[in-house]
Amino acid sequence: MKKTWWYIAGGLLVALLLAGVVGNFASSDPDGLDSTALKGCTVDAAGNITGGRCIAQNGKDHELGDSPLAGYGLGGDNGFLSTGLSGVLGVLLTFAIGGGIFWLVRRRKAPAAEEAEPPVHAGSG
């Protein structure tokens, strides 16, 4: 078990490097969904639709568009450091939330004395 945790830590380090460093070299072209949704519209440099007719035309702003990490940058900034830090925070947050939930709902090992299923929290969510 102890060894597994070392592998988990190693994997987490890889994820942190990918999000924190490699993420800065990611393509900023629209992805497959976005490009399809924008087909038929003209878009300005800031990414706002300026005319035409397309799937994305009726797109609304995000409810939390002003949140500190919106758009994978700190405070709307998308410089090297800002993107890297937001990626690192995202990886740690996802690991904490995901790992935390999975750890809480996991099957507990039965005590060695009796093999009975241990009591679990009501409501497995």
Partner: protein, 245 residues
């Protein structure tokens, strides 16, 4: 802002259809949570947290698809189900999508059900069914594992893309005047290339984990009947029958 968003935004699909898929997502997630408990033990739980964090990281890495000014990124469903199983895997992708929507303002909150349905539920289901079939048919070698991962990942992306087309057909807010078939063709065209990227990332990652710790690859534990015969089992001490609970 467009180049920094990866998922369906608010307002693209009308309210009733978005809400209906919110219901679909809730039901799907409830089933996954119920079934996931059977798989989640002391070893799988931290691994599942890592898989979610890894998918978050790799989703940020948009790669060019070279045919146009279009990029693609990992969806992660096939990767997740191969490493931690179908139920936990779908939950891993959902955690990523929820964090992205609530913290990074990527993917509208009203569109969360649409995004979870496509990428967490549909892509994971397609990926797992394909992996389960392919691992039984293909040779039990590293190449067999890599090919299974590649094909399952590629097709899971195409299926997820078609799931969006279905959502658009049911409730697209803007009628763009082109047929659903034409939109499906556009989506399939770009997502074929994205799927190749997804396949390469998935195969590389799964093979890397399988080389180091094959016991951490759910698909190898559960889908192959006699894992002891595989060439890449690393640990010298094969578990004795009934030794570990």
């Amino acid at each position: 802002m467009h180049n920094l968003a990866m998922h369906i935004a608010n307002g693209i699909i009308n309210g009733p259809v978005a809400a209906a898929f919110g219901g679909v997502a809730l039901i799907g997630l409830a089933i996954c949570v119920a079934r996931a408990r059977g798989d989640l033990d002391d070893r799988l739980a931290p691994m599942a947290g890592l898989v979610a964090a890894f998918i978050f990281a790799v989703q940020m890495l948009n790669f060019p698809i070279f045919t146009a000014a279009v990029s693609g990124h990992l969806l992660g469903g096939a990767l997740a189900v191969m490493l931690v199983g179908p139920w936990v895997g779908a939950l891993c992708v959902s955690v990523v999508l929820i964090v992205q929507a609530l913290v990074f303002a990527d993917g509208g909150i009203t569109a969360l059900g649409l995004n979870i349905t496509n990428m967490a539920l549909v892509a994971s289901a397609a990926g797992y069914l394909l992996v389960a079939a392919l691992l039984r048919v293909l040779p039990r070698t590293t190449v067999g594992l890599a090919v299974s991962a590649f094909v399952a990942a590629l097709i899971s992306v195409l299926v997820a893309a078609m799931s969006f087309v279905l959502q658009y057909a049911l409730g697209g807010a803007v009628d763009v005047g082109s047929s659903i078939a034409a939109i499906a063709a556009t989506m399939a065209g770009t997502h074929l290339f994205i799927g190749i990227g997804e396949g390469l990332i998935t195969a590389t990652t799964v093979v890397a984990v399988a080389k180091v710790r094959p016991d951490l690859v759910y698909a190898l534990r559960k889908l192959r009947r006699d894992p002891a015969k595989q060439g890449y089992i690393a640990q010298p001490t094969a578990p004795a029958t009934g030794g570990v609970a």
